[in-house]
Symmetry: D2
């Protein structure tokens, strides 16, 4: 079957290991199901896999892709949840230290077929497009859990999103706006600021700019570079929900004094549960949210999509389709 | 000053005790402020006061009204929070067993001026009309706390509202819809069902009708008549948030077995905090919610508004204005 | 192998269907493990199975028993968690509507061997006796979840336990006392009251007796007969945690008005998770709690233990041992 | 009246500004009450005030002391809660950015009399000594909130306390042990390690020593020096509750990657509420906890107690008594 896969890894030239070509169709073990993929989303995770980060070389060749939507063997339209818990795990699967994502241990979603645990299939809401459905399982799910499970913010509250450009940040602005949160974002780049306003941000600030008032929660994916700004942005009792740190893990100032004196909360957040994905899908459909999509390409042209992401100028998701 | 007040009480003829006439302007004690009222909302609470329920006769004459918006002495546009904690209360004021609402112990809001603890004044969002601002402090605040503090439902979740006609139920549908919840409502009355759909309900069911699927939470203000339906409507772990019981307090079947076996939660909810009111106001403004208003009348015609409510055919709030 | 099993069912003569005799040793499916049982606890659940409640006749013969401790194939000393989720369940297993307990679908614990999902084996703390370990998986786990997951009470708070005699109630008093909660209990029977005081109750009241002050939480397993007393016992914001209703499911007065006006919480609770069982075991060992044991009998004499429970005079657990 | 007060401040010679001498008796404003002090506890906060940290020079002379127990005007035995919210504050008083502690804005507790808001008086449990009662309002209250409001740990869980010597750390070990938590502590000093074991620690590790297994929560008051160890000590989903940072606010490694990938929670915690103090007092009495007391001195000899604390060798509280 056709698939986009990592045949080799290179830190400096990740595209060199990408092959769009034939791979054997997967066989589902007991308790797993085949998904006939109609659309698959691209994430930075896929580029990291090609660079050799998070994917051991002895697992190659590995089909890439964490996001997929399609039909199961009975023709049901479904979305695949990418987080696969280890055998016998009990409770919230995102706390399982041995969990994996599709394309880490099991073959990924950029293929005609992918197999996943049957419990990882979530109904696609009626009327949702395949492209939208293929956006939800990674960045959007991460954003959903950050805002609605972890931030503690109620409608009418104010949320600051650090770094308006990234995929999670874009999803945060769209989701928060649709849920009645006042969404502020920071950006170093005027064109990104403008985009953020168009998709629902109530206000965009320059990086490090003093806020007009303190906020209830900050969504962090930037890390070291914005840490002090995030801490100072919060009301007493406010939360920083952190799901990434693209600028580094070790802020120059840790600000522990402000964290304890203002009784702030720093909440780590990674991906989301199967049930959160199901609610996210329902929310996106009911609220009429249209995830920002940068480009839709047939899977045969996956290399074009990867190249766009490497060039760094995508706004929204890159989606690959199969017919 | 002009005020609408209870001069006497009558269980069967509540309007007989209502006077719209002159009352002395209030003097604010230390820590309290004068609100120059621009609009005041009518609630069933005001009719109960005229019937002699919840208001002791020895407190007459009592200016009625729990909902008010207007300007403080410095001209700031504010909304009055109606819940007044007892001296020295610590923590969430709605748990104070000696709390009162405006018009219960202290003179109420249907007057040219009302005095409230300064901490009970919440900024009116810029651009919000006086009529909207005067809707929020009672039924809408109750609905906000039910949905966003007590239900535990996340965007994309499904909520059933029992009894689509009432003031709290109307607010629940409008608020939940704007926050990305799937709102279902029950109604015995086709015209009310139609209204509910127009303000954001995703589906309206006849009373007691079997649901197409189980829901995450039920909002109860009907009580005995709908109790079994509410219990049966829930998924395992679901919540009934209850803020009233207009059909009675003692259901024929308590359903305790289903409550423990399905691990349901029954959460009592009454009014809301000052901070919840501030967030509600921000949410209503940011999301562009327009509370359903039945009629707007000058305070001089308050009797007309009370009569409409007694006739039972109001849909949305009755608001009295002062200029 | 030797086992105590239900060969037939009788509502009026449950012992008539109990056989202590030979049954085939179980074969563990993939992902399941054999437990060589050293001790198994008796619960009312086992008697209900013999009466035909909760166990379909077409599943007979069924080995009884939800509580077991013993060694796995590698000789590790373990306790079996009795709640078995359905395939593919995600999240807290007690919310799975298709969960079963040992002896409901899969053969139970009163046997030389029982097979359970490997993930259901919890380490027995070093130094804990087999008899103690065999007490924990049902009534004690239920009590643990009620108090520590669901009540919201903090050390120094006061908890009322309705009905001091039962197995869950006994566990509640012992656990709460050891965790720094002030435990009050009600009892109709002076000898049971005395027992409750000996195991850690701070005060025992007659049924329906007015409390000296209101409490933070009530633990309910009695139901209809004590419901109004439970509601009236609570402070504003207090919780009734309910895990059973031996006196009936439908209280004469539902008390919905008090539930909403005092913002009470009624929290259904059933069994507990595997992780809660692990913490319970650690707590019992670390705090030196000695679960009240009524009698320890070799499994060969299981009929004697069942008869004691039917006679209604057990105080604490009946445990069957194997050597 | 006799009082220990700061007459001057010196960073290097804090004792030079301490006077034990005569000060005017305080007059209670409306809503405040006089406490006739029987015992007052010493905290590092008092030394900081003498050094000029946290107390503005223009507020001198200031009677020191945050911890007091004594009798009110009616002879009731009470404990003073030290956190004084600003006028009109609503909700948890520890989130009030304008809150003060006794001796920061209002005269403190080391005197024959102190005045506090009447709502700040908590009943002293019958049978509790004045010395014990005078230990609770600062370090012990801080520890109570850290463990029981903020850590999320249930009985049977494991908690690591960084830095076994300090006042909060000592209280954490005693409180956690009495509540059924497994308490581990770190210490650089063998004699302090030994003390920690004597008061209830289950295990003491050298600073930075690798743990035998990961823990559910870490209690941080050390800060920069222990931060990485704290992060690495936690299970997925675990919590660091931080109430101080004696070794510095800015760890060399912030460890943000581990915080988000393991979904850790960092929870700032400062002091506690009036209601938490009441529960703490009930817990200490009911569980028979005896707070470690270093020395009891008459207030006349307060200088001796301050000198002991400056020498750094106190283990437990220094308490001043009045007769």
């Amino acid at each position: 079957m056709l698939a986009a896969y990592a045949a080799a890894q290179s830190e400096n030239d990740p595209l060199s290991g990408l092959v769009v070509g034939d791979r054997p169709a997967p066989e589902p073990p007991a308790g797993w199901s085949v998904l006939n993929v109609r659309a698959a989303g691209l994430n930075h995770h896929d580029v990291w896999s090609l660079r050799g980060v998070g994917l051991a070389a002895d697992r190659l060749p590995m089909i890439l892709g964490c996001d997929a939507a399609g039909t199961d063997a009975d023709g049901n339209e479904v979305i695949a949840h990418s987080v696969i818990p280890s055998a016998g795990w009990r409770g919230d699967e995102t706390f399982d230290p041995r969990r994996t994502l599709l394309s880490e241990l099991h073959q990924g979603a950029m293929a005609e077929q992918v197999v996943v645990p049957t419990a990882n299939l979530v109904p696609k809401p009626a009327g949702m497009s395949w492209e939208t459905a293929a956006c939800l399982s990674t960045a959007w799910l991460t954003a959903y859990r950050m805002l609605f499970t972890n931030s503690g913010v109620q409608p009418g509250g104010t949320v600051l999103v650090q770094g308006a450009g990234g995929g999670v940040a874009t999803a945060l602005v769209q989701l928060g706006h649709a849920a009645g949160l006042r969404m502020w974002a920071t950006s170093r780049d005027p064109s990104r600021a403008d985009r953020a306003l168009r998709i629902g941000a109530d206000r965009v600030l320059a990086s490090g700019e003093r806020l007009p008032e303190r906020v209830d929660a900050v969504m962090e994916t930037v890390g070291a570079a914005t840490w002090s700004h995030s801490v100072n942005a919060l009301k007493p009792g406010g939360s920083i929900v952190i799901a990434g740190a693209t600028s580094g893990y070790d802020p120059r100032k840790g600000e522990l004094n402000k964290i304890f004196f203002k009784q702030l909360r720093v909440i780590g957040s990674t991906m989301g549960t199967r049930d959160e994905l199901a609610r996210l899908a329902g929310f996106v459909q009911a609220a009429g949210i249209e995830p920002v999509i940068d480009s839709v390409l047939p899977l045969e042209q996956a290399r074009v999509g990867f190249a766009r992401m490497l060039d760094g100028d995508v706004f929204g998701k890159v989606v690959f389709t199969l017919s």
